[in-house]
């Protein structure tokens, strides 16, 4: 279960002897593991443009004879290293010291697919490798990254899992998939990232807005989903995973196949399908909670030393049912839902996916090209197109029964280019530009007034980053980014709402047409944002290191924060955006202490985040409609602070047994009115005992205890509502968090040899072993139903 990866460095030390002119030069050196000094055997050192190469021997040494020119380029590669291009000038320098990032597989199954490398040097970054992600094949990206302390999720039921990084989510968390910034209506809490976890080779999670290359507005953090790595050698490999689970009677299959050629050509395809019916809590069936997901991706290209290109396409369709009992008509229904100990609608198990439900299709097309220039650097050019089509089906009557209530199509085009100057391996620079154009179309065929209006968005950004190595122990990182965003919307307002908001005074000039009860308006807003990041990494000794980091980031308001206006059925509230909302500004400082030893490893991450003009949804009053009265939640801006500590400790008792603790603590405060922020994760501590024995067919087993405290700091948004039936006012308790809970999970796996070369990995998992009933504060359906009960899962993974 360990998500630990071992980061070691390889020192590749080249020495050379100048023996004479005219192809008599000799090039010798040694490759060693930086971490413990052991020689790296089998690394290849190849002179570019020539067939001349050497392989390190059992002591890590190599020699290349008969070199003609003193200036040349070499490629250094090892099966578990990122390959490195180095400029050699035998006249200029007598000793080349090159660092490669090297990652050794924890298990002895060194596979090409699980290679990972960090995207940043001085950020709070954690990498989840392929073997960890494979455990979540039946679940989602949001479930998988909760392996990382400080990462939680805000859920709508159990299938819509939205990542929360250090208390922040939605538009504050940027998701990159295959170097494409995911544009999938991510502003909505009930919109989970449209990523098939089975297409990911690894996932990097960067807390805070320090990965400026991806964007300047990731106040919460960045999730980088990397595809499987491709190596230029002749091979054909693939993997198939099949799984089944008892809860929800779910099943899934995922299969991938990659063909690579030593000339650098490659083609890779992946497809997955999963299906599940109604899930169950320990005491009842959660009616209408099934889901169905179909995904495939295909990419092909050529990867050479000097240049390469790739075409990529991915398709994902998710159909997710939403708990029937969460669809309510008015506050009285909400009161009934909260007071009833179990969901109001409980039907027998079914695979049916009925309203309320979501149906989202996300397609990505991408083309990239890179060119490496000798003694200079590397230029990357990329264009991507994304098409996100989201349907939300409500419970409707009559002819509209099968018509979606929301039908949004978001098309995004992005062009970006980066230039990396890495001829000097000590100090590298990167500059980049990005141009994006987005078009949102809210289809009027729904017959329901648009939640999000039609809009066009234009984005332009550029950045520059530098990595500087001061000496062997210190490295520095700094970056600056500028972003321009323009949002040009055409929206209908009810005239009564327009006037009630006071827009008739402030925005009278943007009205295009007056339809009497409705107004068509054309708001156009421009935002200019500057983001800055700076970090320092200090290696105290072979085992310990420190990282300090500062990030300034600005985020322009999203379409929902500006424009939303209407009744939200699942929350029984009227949500209002505000055209006056300005950007929010985050200043975040963080520090990390990391120790990696033979007996133990420790990683402590702390942060403090001050967000000025934090855009926040807050109750502001009650409005009465013919359905009854509803609380009104308005988007406002406040000043907020968040701070927290995330801890990850492992103690290796012996070769077989490990104990691990992962804990996260966070506090969030609304400084403007001196009260707690809503939806801040409670303190969580996870203890794991793990056993492994390679002799027993790579047997692994672990027992995990997950203890989540009660959130005692929350804003009190309770209100009183008149209940005509009883002719009385009742308190609607929408604020009080549920009680603490403690659940146990078990997991084990082993390899089953079938042929000489191939094996099947068999994994058996039990979640919520004791079938504990509990509710989670960060589940938006917590008012209506318990979380999932015991779930047995079995997974077979074939590598070939």
């Amino acid at each position: 279960m360990s998500k630990k990866y071992y980061l070691t460095y390889v020192f590749v030390c080249f020495t050379y002897l100048l023996i004479g002119q005219n192809c008599n030069l000799k090039f010798t050196g040694a490759v060693k593991d930086f971490h413990d000094g052991t020689p790296i055997v089998g690394a290849t050192i190849q002179i570019e443009g020539l067939k001349t190469y050497a392989v390190t021997d059992s002591k890590g040494n190599f020699t290349i004879n008969n070199i003609c020119n003193s200036i040349f380029t070499v490629k250094v590669a090892h099966v578990s290293c990122e390959e490195r291009i180095i400029q050699i000038d035998l006249k200029k320098k007598s000793l080349y010291e090159i660092r490669l990032e090297h990652h050794i597989e924890e298990l002895n199954e060194v596979t090409l697919r699980s290679e990972v490398d960090k995207k940043t040097k001085t950020s709070q970054e954690t990498v989840l490798k392929g073997n960890i992600l494979a455990r979540y094949s039946a679940l989602s990206l949001g479930d998988a990254i909760k392996e990382i302390p400080g990462v939680s999720s805000i859920n709508t039921g159990n299938s819509i899992v939205k990542p929360v990084i250090n208390g922040l989510h939605s538009s504050r968390v940027l998701v990159m998939t295959n170097n494409v910034r995911l544009q999938d209506q991510e502003w909505g809490i009930e919109h989970a990232p449209n990523i098939d976890i089975n297409s990911a080779g690894s996932v990097s999670l960067i807390k805070g807005a320090n990965a400026l290359e991806y964007g300047g507005d990731a106040i919460g953090g960045v999730i980088v989903v990397n595809p499987t790595r491709i190596f230029a050698k002749d091979s054909l490999f693939g993997q198939t995973t099949v799984n089944g689970q008892s809860n929800g009677r779910g099943y899934g299959i995922n299969s991938s196949l990659t063909k690579t050629y030593d000339e650098g050509w490659y083609i890779s395809g992946q497809a997955s399908y999963k299906r599940s019916g109604d899930f169950s809590s320990p005491d009842y069936i959660l009616t209408n909670t099934g889901n169905e997901s179909t995904a495939f991706s295909l990419f092909t290209g050529r990867k050479k030393l000097e240049y390469g290109y790739e075409l990529y396409y991915s398709y994902l369709k998710n159909e997710i049912a939403i708990l029937r009992s969460s669809h309510i008509g008015n506050v009285e229904d909400l009161v009934n839902g909260i007071n009833s100990q179990q969901p109001i609608v409980i039907n027998p198990f079914s695979y049916g996916i009925n309203a309320p439900k979501q149906e989202v299709t996300h397609q990505i097309f991408k083309g990239t090209f890179y060119q490496r220039f000798k003694n200079f650097g590397k230029l990357d050019i990329q264009y991507d197109y994304q098409n996100n089509h989201r349907f939300e089906f409500d419970i409707r009557v009559g002819d509209d029964r099968n018509t979606p209530a929301i039908n949004l199509q978001l098309q995004s085009h992005t062009f970006k280019s980066t230039l990396k100057l890495d001829s000097n391996s000590e100090n590298t620079y990167k500059v980049g530009i990005m141009v994006g154009l987005q078009d949102n179309f809210a289809n009027p065929s729904t017959g329901v007034r648009r939640l999000i209006p039609d809009y066009e968005k234009f984005d332009f950004g550029f950045f520059t980053l530098g990595n500087f190595k001061i000496n062997d122990d210190f490295s520095l990182n700094a970056g600056i980014r500028y972003d321009f965003n323009r949002i040009d919307a055409k929206k209908f307002y009810q005239t009564s709402r327009w006037n009630e908001r006071g827009y008739n005074v402030d925005f009278a000039d943007i009205i295009i047409q007056d339809f009497g009860t409705q107004l068509l308006v054309n708001p156009v807003f421009d935002f200019h944002n500057i983001s800055v990041s700076a970090g320092i990494a200090y290696s105290m000794n072979d085992n310990s290191s420190l990282i300090f980091n500062y990030g300034l980031s600005n985020r322009a308001p999203n379409a929902s924060e500006l424009f939303s206006d209407g009744l939200h059925h699942s929350a029984a509230r009227i949500e209002l955006g505000d055209l006056r909302i300005q950007k929010e500004t985050s200043n975040r400082i963080s520090g990390t202490y990391s120790y990696k030893g033979e007996k133990a490893s420790i990683n402590i991450e702390g942060f403090f985040n001050h967000i000025k003009d934090f855009i926040y949804l807050e109750p502001s009053g009650v409005e009465t409609t013919i359905r009854g009265s509803f609380p009104v939640w308005e988007h406002k801006q406040i000043n907020a602070t968040l701070f927290g500590v995330d801890l990850n400790m492992s103690h290796y008792l012996n070769h077989q047994f490990t104990i691990q603790n992962k804990s996260s603590f966070i506090k969030g405060k609304d400084v403007s009115s001196n009260r707690a922020l809503i939806d801040i994760p409670a303190f969580k501590t996870v203890n794991i005992i793990r056993y492994k024995n390679e002799k027993w067919s790579n047997f692994n087993a672990e027992l995990q205890s997950e203890w989540v405290f009660r959130q005692n700091e929350f804003p009190n948004n309770n209100f009183e509502a008149y209940i005509p039936r009883t002719d009385s006012f009742v308190l609607v308790d929408i604020s009080t968090p549920p009680l603490a809970y403690h659940i146990f999970n078990f997991r084990s796996d082993f390899d089953l040899k079938i042929f000489k070369e191939n094996s099947v990995n068999v994994a058996f998992t039990v979640n919520n072993v004791l079938n504990t009933s509990y509710r989670e504060y960060l589940n938006r359906l917590r008012y209506f139903a318990d979380e999932l009960g015991r779930n047995f899962m079995i997974q077979l993974k074939f590598n070939y």
Binding site: G398, R497, P724
Partner: protein
Amino acid sequence: MRLKLVHLSFIAFAAVLSCNDNDDPIIINEEEVITTVTATLTPVGGGTIITLQSRDLDGDGPNDPVITISGNLAPNTTYSGAIEVLNETVTPAENITEEVEEEGDEHQFFFTPTNNVVTVAYADMDINGDPIGIEFTLRTTNASSGNLTVTLIHEPNKNAAGVSSGDITNAGGETDAEATFAIGVQ
């Protein structure tokens, strides 16, 4: 220069792809919105017809519904009642009563009095023989006052205890409309 070209080419690209909304978006007049619930009470054997109306012309908008009661009910009188549900955001107004009637097995009106100001009994039934409540009878006794709440529930559990006799407690479902009228009997 390159930037400008890129910029231009993308605008061209987007113009091609988003031709469906270069024009202004189409106005949506919601058809399912209930703006008006009117209960007409006709005294059996003659007398003044009383109407109870809740009207919210901006739907989910900020304006509150306007409640209109044409007058007091007479004591010890039986009224035959009928409900009309309208969507007045469209012209001409859409009569939603017909839809409720067609899907009668999925809808039910509930009449919840306080202070026993009136008693209400159903006078219609759906295909399963359960009440809908579009037609009903209302009886008054001695002079009194209290509230009468009319609630339209979508997908109630009509088999639950008390529901078919008009008790909303176990009905479940979702509220499509709800209006409370202050009734005087004199």
